[in-house]
Amino acid sequence: MSSRVNGVNRTILALLGLLLLAAGGLGLALGFGAFGDGDQPVLPQPVRDFARNQPWFWWAVATVCLLLALLGLRWLLAQLRTDRIGRLELTTDDRDGLTTVHTSALADAMEAEAESLRGVAGASAHVLDRGGRRVALAVDLTDYADIAEVRQALEDRLVSNMRQALDDPQLPIDIELRPGRTRSGGRGLL
């Protein structure tokens, strides 16, 4: 999931909430006579006459509805988008040839290395594009894992190996530890 989409969702939901709150509050205030006579029709006759007599009115409404539908489609597609990337372009000079790395290969290598650690029951890695490339690694730990030891091994060995493989000594890496995922001793031997 994209973290940016979460922010967008919260903003749009808050705006919609405010809009509904304002519409409902205004309608109730009108009904209780806050702005003069409360017994006003919901759809006044002048409004109906205006909509009937102006030929452009309904085409304008249709255009607005179409725009809203397109916004809805864009919002819907944004829910499906993730930050994950499938390939990394590592070419430094086109004349020397092109270098592309499939991120699944990197992820497999990271997962295998993490799972070889004692106390690690499983791991899953992804390469993300969040304002620059970064790697996310989730590590499932057993109940009996030495968390400090696993963390140190991940930070000392796995992180440096990954940075070396991508020739990026500053590559940002997010590690999520998930302690107590299983009671077994884990698969790793190291």
């Binding site: 017994d39 179409l66 730990l141 109940d143 890496i173 995922r181």
Partner: protein, 176 residues
């Protein structure tokens, strides 16, 4: 909360997409002099023309709008419990977090390992973690210190002792 937000956003986006398209279709059909397709708009228009803001149905709808609006605001603005907690950094460019559920599982396991504890559960927030342990011993207070020590040790291991403050409650539980 992000999952709930995402589900609500998906439903609203679908409603916006299909509602917008349906409105366009109905407007085009009306412009061509054809009968409505799905929305009986002539009847809706007549009904709305007869209603006033003092009507019971209209007020009920307006109250419904206010309730939905408030619910959307709560869902959008509520922070909720964190999905994971950031551990103190050691290496440049490496951010290490621990999942909240994982921390809770790990702490309840640590509490259960104290002698005499029958069951234990943990709930972690942003600043504190509440651990509830139950024992069959006659004086549960005696377990307060060892359970707190076990939980604190596990928090130390996780590097969270400065982030989360443990609050341990030990209660008696009769053995059957």
């Amino acid at each position: 909360m992000s999952i709930v937000n995402r589900v609500i956003a998906t439903v609203l986006a679908l409603a916006l997409l299909f509602g917008g398209l349906l409105a366009v279709v109905e407007i085009v059909l009306a412009a061509l002099g054809r009968p409505y397709w799905l929305v009986p708009h002539p009847m809706w228009s007549t009904w709305l023309g007869e209603q006033s803001f003092t009507g019971g149905v209209v007020r009920a709808i307006l109250i419904g709008l206010i309730i939905i609006g408030l619910l959307l605001l709560v869902v959008a603005l509520r922070r909720g419990k964190p999905g994971s907690l950031t551990l103190p950094g050691r290496t440049d460019g490496v951010r290490v977090t621990a999942s909240r559920r994982g921390i809770e599982r790990s702490l309840s396991t640590a509490a259960r390992r104290a002698d005499g504890v029958k069951t234990a559960s943990a709930k972690a927030g942003r600043r504190t973690v509440r651990v509830k342990a139950a024992t069959a011993m006659r004086s549960p207070q005696e377990l307060q210190q060892p359970v707190t020590a076990a939980v604190t040790e596990r928090l130390d291991e996780l590097g969270l002792s400065d982030v989360l403050r443990p609050r341990v409650t030990v209660s008696g539980k009769s053995s059957r």
